[in-house]
Amino acid sequence: MKKFGIRLLVFFLVIFIGDTVVGYWLSFNYNNSEYASFTKLKHTLNAKEELLIFGSSRAQHHYNSQILAKGLGMSVYNCGFGGQGVEFSYLQLKEILKQNKPKQVIFDLSVNILIDPEGNSKLSGILAPYYHRSLDIKNALDGFDKFEKYKMISNIYPYNSTLYNILRRKKNNEDALLKGFQPLHSVFDTTGINTIVNNGFNKAYSLNDKLKFVEKFILLCGANDIPLIIVNSPIYLTNDILDSMNAEMKLLLKPYTNCQYLDFTLDSSFKAHPEYFKDNLHLNEKGAELFTKKIIKIFMVTR
């Protein structure tokens, strides 16, 4: 029994030492990494720009920060992150507001993000390295998994699956110049698009119970007197179900007087124009340029 006890002690001691050393090494390299996604996340949590754009991949690929900055004469950063849900945007804004108050916020919101059952659950994968940064992030991550707080005892776990990108050490100057915007370069092959759309949106969901974090986001902007524009950016093709959900979203956002809602899903400049799209939900670089210019025009009129 004594022998077993010693072996068990050695086992946990080796794990403890390994976890501390490797965890420290990962943390140091993560924080000094030049990998675009890591540097972007670090920037967005501390953003100091005047105009900030939030949302998922549709935000990330649709708003050309350079064109916006030039057209509006403001500093701009695109905080959009592919695959992330509304809660992520809310946490980003919350973290930013602890240090800085943007002059204007654009929030790209679409039905597909609201109805994605895994939308918010991807938070842990991206925000884990910032678990100890604030109580907001900690509570959000703990909310997804009751064991998360125990996993976070490990120094390695927050950097799980980041090793490859940490080791890449790739410096990409283009990323810094694009200010968070990530252009997509190919043109949409529309073969079978009707089936794709009908399979993707084959059931109408009620959005009423899916707006919790959207409401929190709106109220956070309101409490800080930040003008907010919620944009439903262009889609190549919609169907009746998607159109009805977009209409419902517009209706549900109407009571919030501190935000303006713009719906581009049926905009004829984009609808059924494959040359502006990478796929059904994402504009390519050419489409993003046209769309950004449209946004600038609306800003000018509003001003």
Partner: protein
């Protein structure tokens, strides 16, 4: 994991999966895949139906029925039934075509290269098993047939995705395959890091825990066959 967890509590479980993808034919595959279930079906259904001590047509029917019913055991869905039936068909066809296949191997001189012959048989069995898995995995029969249809019709380019994912996947596959090959052909132990020195072994296991923390999947879905 199941064997290890049970052993901690003093239970000795049988080996349930014995590297099935190294099987050289479907009959061998079913001796290596979900062994406890296959054994149960053999003892309580196949033998009860008469096993192979009946006329040949009835023997084939017995095999086909046992596999179709084993498909149903996995769930009340046509996808599972079709999956079971496909495996039953594979098995019956393998028996019927045994002599033809041997003759064909002789014709192309494959019988003179036993290692290559084995390799070809492993690959073919793997492809057949994977084809049947389409029906097992698909959400419904329509989806399964759509997948099969798309496999043989020209529908765009192969999805490559991010290079990072490709490299990581290839690395993971190579690493797993390396250990599987070692275990199949070199060591027969289930624990490749087993040594006679307790300290080396302890450090190796602690190292594995650290590797899991670094590279393990904590937010992914469960292995599809876990529920069975």
């Amino acid at each position: 994991m199941a064997i290890g967890s049970a052993k901690i509590m003093g239970f000795k479980l049988m080996t349930n999966f014995n590297r099935p993808y190294f099987s050289r034919n479907i009959a061998e595959f079913w001796k290596r895949w979900h062994i406890s279930l296959s054994t149960w079906f053999k003892d309580y259904l196949y033998i009860s139906l008469g096993g192979n001590r009946v006329g040949i047509p009835r023997w084939y029917l017995n095999l086909f029925l046992v596999f179709t019913i084993s498909g149903l055991w996995h769930g009340a869905n046509w996808t599972y039934i079709i999956w079971g039936a496909i495996n039953g068909f594979y098995l019956v066809f393998a028996i019927i075509s045994q002599d033809w296949r041997k003759a064909f191997a002789k014709l192309i001189y494959l019988d003179r290269l036993p290692k290559l012959n084995n390799f070809v048989q492993i690959i073919l069995t793997f492809i057949l098993a994977c084809f049947a898995w389409i029906f097992f995995r698909a959400n419904n029969v329509q989806d399964a047939f759509l997948i099969v249809e798309r496999m043989v019709s020209d529908k765009g380019t192969i999805y490559i995705g991010e290079m990072q994912q490709i490299i990581l996947s290839l690395f993971a596959i190579a690493m797993l395959l390396f250990f599987e090959v070692l275990q199949e052909y070199k060591f027969k132990s289930q624990l490749p890091i087993r040594t006679n020195h307790w300290l080396k072994e302890t450090v190796a296991y602690a190292g594995l825990v650290i590797l899991i923390l670094m590279l393990g999947v904590f937010d992914g879905g469960q292995f599809i066959y876990f529920q069975f």
